[in-house]
Symmetry: C2
Subunit: 323 residues, 2 copies
C-alpha cells in the first residue's frame, strides 16, 4: 500500500465492514449513511500519519476506519438535531426512516467505532482509547456549543473558534495522532501531528465559512449565502459585528435575527458590509495563519521529507477546495 | 470492602464521577439522571461476581461503574424514544431540557462508560471491551426489536423472549462476567456467571410483566394494568393470544389495539382471560425455570459456597420483589 492507493484501500475496506444484521431497521441505516460516500479524509489522515514512520500499515487500516464510522455517527445524530433533510444530496436517516431509528442506529455506530480499535496492540490500546474518548466527548461538546450559540445573543470570536476546534478540528488532529501512535512514533511526533491536524481542521472550517459567502455557486454544492440567510454566527458575521460602525450595526441588526422577506437582498446587504470591513481578507489571513502553524508542526516531525509530501499536498487541497 | 458495604461504596463512587464541565447543557443532564438513584444492581453484580474469587476489589469498582453509566445512557435515550415524561418520578431529560440535549448527553455518557474501563489491565482490556461492545450493541438491538414489535401484527413468544434477553438480560450477564474476568476467573467460570446473570435478567423481566397485571397497587409504584391499557405485547398477552379459544380471541380483539373507552373495564376483561387460561401460573413456571437454570450455573462456578450466598440472595430478592 502506497499513499496513492490509500483512498481505494479505504473505500474497499469500508465496503466490507459488517455492522450487524438484525433488526434490519437498526443496521440498514448504518449501511445507508456509510454508503453515501464522502472524501474519507479522516482514515486517509490516519494512514498518511502512519506512513510517515512505517511501510507496514497492516494494523492501521482497521482503526483508521473507526474514525470514519465515528464521524458518520456524528453526522447522523447532528442531522437529526439540526433537522437537516439532506446529507450529500440524499435523504437523511431520520427522514428516510424516523428519529428513533436515527438515535439508535447512531448509538450502535459509536459502539462499532470503538470495536474497530480493539485489534490495536494491547500495549497501545488504553492510551489510544483514552485519546479517542476525549476527542469524542470534545466533538459532542462542540456540537452542544454550536446549538447553544443559536440562541445566545452574544458569542465572541474566541468562543466561536473554540467551538469549531471542538466540533471539527480535534477529530482531524486525533486521526493523525492515531496513525503516528500505531506506527510507533514518539509522543513528541504524535503531538506535532495532532496539532498539524487540528490547525488544518480550523483552517478547513474557516474556509467553509468563507466559501458560504464567497464561493462559486456553480462548484460550491450548497446555496451560496446559506449561512447569512440562516443567521449562522460564523467567523465572518462575528467579525463584522465586532468591527461594524454604528451605521453598519444598524444595517446588520435590520437583517440578522429578523424575518427574511428577500433572501437575496439579505445576502447582498450583509456581504456588502463584509466587503466594506474587508472581512474576506481577514478570514483568509487567519486561515493562512493556521495553515502556516500546521506546516511548522509537520516540519518538526522526525520523518523523511518525501514522506511528508502527501500530507502537505492534502492540506493544500483542503485549503484550496471550492466545495 | 465486604458485600454488605458494596451498595454504599457504589453510591459514594458514583457521586464522585466527573463527567465533564462545559457546556453545562451537555453535562448537567448527565449528573441529573445519574443522581435520580436506582438500585445500582449492575455494579453490584460486578462487585459480587469479582468477590467470588478475590478480596482485592481495588480495580473492580471503576469498571463496575461503567455498567451503571451505560445503563443510564440507555434509559436516557429510551425515554426520549418512548416519549416517557417521567423517570423515577422526576421529569425525563428530554422533558426537563429538550430532545437534542437528551441525544447529545446520552452520546457522551456512552463515551464516558467506555472511559471507565480504561484502567483495566491491558492484558484483559481487549476481551472485556469486545464483550462490552457486543453487549451494548445487543441492548440497542433489543430496544429496536421492542419498538418494531409495537407496530408488528404478529410477535411470537420466542421473538419476545429474545427481545427481553437482548434489551435487559445480556447486560446483567455481562456485569457478572466482567466481575469474574477482572478477578482473574477462568473462561468457564466467567461464562457460567454470564449465563447466571442472563437467566436472572430474563426472570426479572418476566416478573415485571407479571407485576404489571398481578402486582399490588400499593407497592407496585406504577399503575397496575398499564401494559394491558397500552396494548404492550408482553409474555402474558402473547401467551393468552396463542392459547385463547375463538370466544376469548374475540374478546381480546375487542380490547387490544382499539380505542380505550374504559381503561378499568379493559384491564378487567383482559385479566379475566389471563385467569381463565392460567397465564399467571404459566408465567411463574417460566420465571422459576429461568431461576433454576440460573442457580445451576451459579452452582457450577468454582468458588466457595459462602461467597455465592450474596449473589443467591440478590437473585431471590430480584425475583420476590413487589415493585
Amino acid at each position: 500500500m502506497t499513499p496513492a492507493d490509500f483512498p481505494a484501500n479505504i473505500t474497499a475496506a469500508l465496503a466490507q465492514l459488517d455492522y450487524g444484521q438484525a433488526p434490519d431497521t437498526l443496521y440498514a441505516p448504518i449501511r445507508y449513511i456509510m454508503g453515501l460516500g464522502g472524501k474519507r479524509i479522516r482514515p486517509l489522515l490516519t494512514l498518511l500519519g502512519a506512513h510517515l514512520f512505517t511501510d507496514d500499515l497492516s494494523g492501521v487500516l482497521k482503526p483508521a476506519l473507526a474514525t470514519e464510522v465515528f464521524h458518520n455517527f456524528t453526522l447522523l445524530h447532528d442531522d437529526l438535531m439540526d433537522q437537516a433533510p439532506l446529507r450529500r444530496g440524499q435523504a437523511t436517516v431520520h427522514e428516510k426512516w424516523n428519529p428513533n431509528v436515527a438515535i439508535l442506529s447512531g448509538d450502535v455506530m459509536l459502539v462499532r467505532a470503538y470495536e474497530l480499535f480493539l485489534d490495536v496492540p494491547p500495549a497501545l490500546l488504553p492510551r489510544i482509547l483514552a485519546r479517542f474518548s476525549q476527542t469524542a466527548a470534545e466533538v459532542c461538546e462542540g456540537q452542544q456549543w454550536d446549538m447553544n450559540f443559536e440562541t445566545e445573543p452574544q458569542v465572541s470570536i474566541a468562543q466561536y473558534l473554540d467551538m469549531i476546534r471542538l466540533k471539527t478540528a480535534v477529530l482531524l488532529g486525533f486521526c493523525l495522532e492515531l496513525g503516528a501512535r500505531l506506527a510507533g512514533a514518539s509522543d513528541e511526533d504524535a503531538e506535532h501531528l495532532r496539532q498539524f491536524g487540528t490547525d488544518i481542521g480550523l483552517a478547513f472550517q474557516l474556509r467553509d465559512d468563507l466559501l458560504d459567502v464567497y464561493g462559486d455557486a456553480a462548484t460550491f454544492g450548497k446555496r451560496v449565502g446559506g449561512d447569512i440567510i440562516s443567521d449562522k454566527k460564523t467567523f465572518l458575521l462575528l467579525s463584522a459585528q465586532a468591527q461594524a460602525s454604528p451605521a453598519q450595526q444598524a444595517i446588520l441588526a435590520r437583517h440578522i435575527g429578523q424575518p427574511v422577506a428577500d433572501a437575496d437582498a439579505k445576502v447582498q446587504a450583509v456581504r456588502a458590509i463584509y466587503d466594506e470591513l474587508e472581512i474576506r481578507s481577514q478570514t483568509e489571513a487567519l486561515i493562512n495563519s493556521y495553515f502556516q502553524d500546521a506546516l511548522q508542526h509537520l516540519e518538526r516531525v522526525a520523518a523523511p521529507n518525501e514522506r511528508k509530501q502527501p500530507l502537505h499536498h492534502l492540506a493544500l487541497q483542503l485549503m484550496d477546495r471550492e466545495s
